[in-house]
Symmetry: D2
Subunit: 387 residues, 4 copies
């Protein structure tokens, strides 16, 4: 398997392979004003890295999986936590480290996304990585509770082969950078499927003004949820029109929604942990705009953090700036909007995977058909630029 | 004031005054299959009563307020609790009795909806009513934690006049019955406003099949939330088109969303308390379909209960039937759909209030304009009956 | 009834009637260093007021009830909120306003304690009081969610007579002051019973040093929980030795614990809302030291707030000082210790009530017997002063 | 290292090495009636297995660590879930799988305890083990969220060496059996320290009668929390008397409590998930009796499950028997009592570890001194048997 994985690792350190359009390039209308990149990396300091595995196992089984790392403060994430909070709209999934987020109000270190069966290896790898960096002081327990979340890519990938290794987790971390974020079949999103279309990683952002100060909210999703029927895009019931290549046959009894979605919201707005909990809860509302009802099998788990507060986790009394609750609405609205667009971006950026495990496949959504539906419903909005 | 209130009480015991259309009568498309009444009262045993106060105080101030009572088991609600759970998407509001719901898994007695400043009087009145009925046994503490929720009708009504009296709470309870539920400007919804349109009480239901058994999910809302801009109906961005008579002038700086919405979901499906928590959390997703982002000022608090389990609160080991988690999705989907339609029904059923306090007013949404928007966006669905 | 209540009101505005010893005056050992008053009022700015009703109703039924008000910032509590959080160890009780505490991170206005059946009247009275003071601006919804908690005094008092009136709530607020806090059969604690001894209001405090700064944690309890058997004081199984005058006869089947305890923790240490949640959860541990297992019937609900943050609820970005999590332990320990001592103080300060409703009575714990038990178990600690 | 670990594995499959007394053998008084084994295995069907690693790494570093597996239904745990719930009194720790426990109401598969840095390897190993057993059906996601909890044994063991391997996790599972449970320096408890004494795994149980039916509550703890000062045993302030060999020198500034405790409560009483949450919250109260204040650095995370409900996770409507809330108190009390005794058992069963990493060591509590303290405080209770 060594050879094949090194092929995968070539992809891993590369930049985004495909020159994908994004949702608003197709004329899909969204509310609000995106940041320069329309990506989570519009939040200053946030970096994102992917380790992508596409290949075959020694036993000949298809591998489409990987790891995505979000570093709230880039390379400084290890030493300088951010205020954070999480929320589960439907907890059929794993996000490690959440008890400590609730308790401490902090997200410490990177936020890792991978497949369901690789949460453990990624978790321990993050600890080992930090031990290796000499972060391991006597009171180092706080970095021993990494945040690792997952969705299940077993429809396309040999998830029971446990192909993600510690090196992939570390590669995702070390590969993290600012700028445009590769989307679709990359990193943790490599093998993901949503609304029965090929899906994966997507991102978006919004800028808002509060008391004349500009703030950014960025979203990054690993989207793997939902049935075709329920899909709405920009309010149009797309899933009722585009019926091709459903994962579940029309003849089948209605299947359970066994997917999941991890949504990470980042902001530079100064918010306290209990306010970030409120931000995390707005991810539900962006997801709901897509038609989701958060099916039983779906692990819909969300994380929000603010890069505004400088360190001082353990120090003498320190201070935190924060926005008054009565001024927070633009950030709520931005969170809903960025979540919605990030999901559509994940879907638009994804490419067909035809060689999945056990003969399974997942096709990307048809961009042309999507444009036509927008036009039919008087929702098409002529693209003005390329974000 | 005595005279004026007795006039109000005439309304109170009357049936629904207006022969209102409902949302689907206008051609607004919804998913799923409604029950016979398309109302929370499709859930067998559930009754609803309103006490409606429209008038003027002795000081000449406008009164548009009231109380709505939902009795999970009709007249037997006092002696026989139901399994229940609650959830706050945004807790800027009051729902009393929730600590005990969390702890016990039960909703005991009626569920009362009123204005923000009358929660206390209604709460104590419910206790007194039950004392008066001789329910007051030694271990009666359990009926001493009534569930009373509120939204703020001070835009139209003299909320600081405290016009709701114990008799109104009791009237709402005693007036409760099955059958069609009056909607719009009635009961607790009398003075409510949503998306800057006159709003109030709305209801809807869905029937689903799980393992070949039919179940019903009913929703009742007291809707008072949201700004005009964000309003979506059936995915159409209605609020961006209908700009008349906004509560907040276009010239004004963007106002905070200071409204609220209480959503009550009832079902006859056998669900355990932790499953009903899941149902309650789906109300968020129905609300989100309307464009809401749950603004800071909005008390978006939801309650779900199941009428399936027969009593036996204190008994020897008893048994509860329940649906396996893996079969629960149709109930989730129904909860989202019923919530969405109940809100639109509240808006469609409401009628202009032009004589609000301090010269304020709120106009109902224009049905004709709404139909036109549905047609323009290819979303109009010809009404087939009248529910 | 007017005459009798005016007699009660004489008590109401008086100072503590009895020159009661406090727990440590009896030689009961406690850990930690109390503040000057060993009371919640050691936290600068906090004031406490009681309205006490002892008397008989017109129907001749015994009344032993009242209202206690805790004002986090004294008279400025109405306009200047404090950071706060709450926790229910067992939610068989009511504390209104908690959804907004969770959401906003603030406690706004006074914290009111009363009997179970008077939560409503006290709640609405707090709103009316603030309306009367002209606090009622357009966005005044935030003061419309008062915090009112309760325990059940129906064993001694005519709780079904609803004898608490708005005037009593207002009297408790207006009577609030700093300095020594009357304990025992006063205010909301007038008719309360714990571990089958007469009980009521108790308070205590601790001072700690964090990074060379001194902070105070104060506790105030309205204690009405627990059976005799389980009572431990300073680790001594007192309840197994003192068997007199149990509320429940030895011959009776073991009764349920149907009491409750409200615990309010105040501190001047700068803590953020999520940290105050942690403080509130420590109240459980102080309660557990008394032998409680938080019986099903017990509403064990706790509130914590910090007076450190100055106002600015709605302002432009403001700042909050806070103590790093890694320095917080002394405040946790102080919270446990102050809770424990406040409960014992409530018990020690209480006086026999022999004329309860229906011939019921509750005797105070025997101070001499308690001292003897401490000595027998080598736990007696000679009092050094009088706090 | 292979040789040394195989030595460790010899221990692993052995029975308890030391013929340890247990707490009540020393005359420490406890309340309530224990089961036949005074162990979590008194709950029928529950099995426990340890994998214990004592040795040295190739680099010569001390290893004192391991894995403990609790199988709620013994070998059938993989296919038949139990109702469960969890609670964090202080979330400075990891317990994976909790989002799904909250959501589903189930604990599925084994409950694993290990050191902080080995949670990941144990988690993925549990999945791989089940894949290997052919449990991997298409909807197998539910067994992909294993429950693994941890405490930090880095004071004695080379935690940064990552010595726990998948084989150890599997050995703990396969080694699980009923009967007496080895305590002290075994399994996940091998390197643990509490109140600055050597500690580790402890267990206890209580039998109670509810409506004439007998039920058992069992506790198993992995105890690694607390400072010496705060230690109370049976109400006696033991930590203030026994001052030898503290981990933290008297001369040092007061250290933070950086330990943790995982408490698992099992019962055969029929309880619904929301009732098991209540049980889990009582673990706090047992812990508090030991003098703990749940320090910031302590991961105090608790799990409760009931073996009463037979399977049927996904089935057609099934039924669950459950005890009425009003009859639940004996189970609450038993939970507190069993937790308290399990912790003392962990401490009493532990043996000195003198060869910890970096020259660290931890001594066991002196049994003779403990007996003397009980006698001095009139708390000694002559042992009647040997449990």
């Amino acid at each position: 398997m060594r050879l094949k994985l090194s092929m995968a690792l070539a992809v891993l350190f590369g930049t985004a392979a495909h020159g994908a359009e994004r949702a608003r390039d197709l004329g899909i209308p969204f509310e609000g004003v995106p940041g320069a990149l329309n990506a989570i990396t519009d939040v200053k300091g946030v970096t994102v890295g992917h380790a992508t595995l596409h290949g075959k196992s020694e036993a000949g089984k298809a591998i489409h999986t990987g790891v995505t790392a979000i570093l709230p403060r880039g390379a400084a994430s290890g030493s300088t936590p951010v205020f954070g909070a999480w929320f589960a709209q439907n907890g059929n999934g794993e996000m490690t480290g959440t008890a400590w987020i609730d308790e401490s109000g902090y997200v410490e270190g990177p936020v890792m996304l991978t497949n369901t069966h690789s949460v453990g290896v990624v978790r321990d790898a993050v600890i080992a990585y930090r031990v290796g960096q000499g972060d391991a002081d006597a009171s180092g327990y706080w970095w021993s509770l990494p945040v690792v979340a997952e969705t299940w890519d077993g429809h396309l990938s040999d998830i029971n082969g446990f192909h993600v290794k510690p090196a992939h987790a570390i590669a995702a971390i070390e590969n993290a950078k600012g700028g445009a974020v590769p989307e679709g079949n990359v990193g943790g999103g490599s093998g993901m499927v949503c609304h029965e279309f090929k899906c994966g990683i997507g991102t978006a952002s919004r800028t808002v003004s509060v008391d004349k100060r500009a703030y950014t909210v960025g979203a990054l999703v690993q989207a793997n949820y939902g049935l075709r029927d329920s899909l709405r895009i920009a309010g149009v019931p797309v899933g009722q029109h585009l019926r091709n290549d459903r994962v579940y046959s029309e003849a089948m009894p209605k299947p359970a929604d066994t997917g999941s979605i991890i949504i990470v919201l980042a902001t530079d707005a100064p918010l306290l942990p209990h306010q970030l909990k409120r931000i995390a809860k707005r991810a539900t509302m962006g997801l709901a705009r897509m038609g989701s009802y958060a099916g039983n099998g779906s692990g819909d788990i969300f994380l929000a953090f603010s890069t505004a507060k400088p360190a001082d986790r353990d120090g003498a009394p320190s201070t935190a700036e924060f926005i008054g609750n009565e001024r927070i609405d633009p950030l709520f609205e931005a969170s809903v909007q960025a979540t919605e667009e990030a999901i559509v971006n994940a879907m638009v950026a994804a490419r067909d995977v035809l060689d999945g495990i056990d003969g399974n496949y997942a096709k990307a959504i048809d961009h042309r058909a999507l444009i036509d539906l927008m036009k039919h419903h008087q929702r098409y909005q002529k693209p003005t630029g390329t974000k």
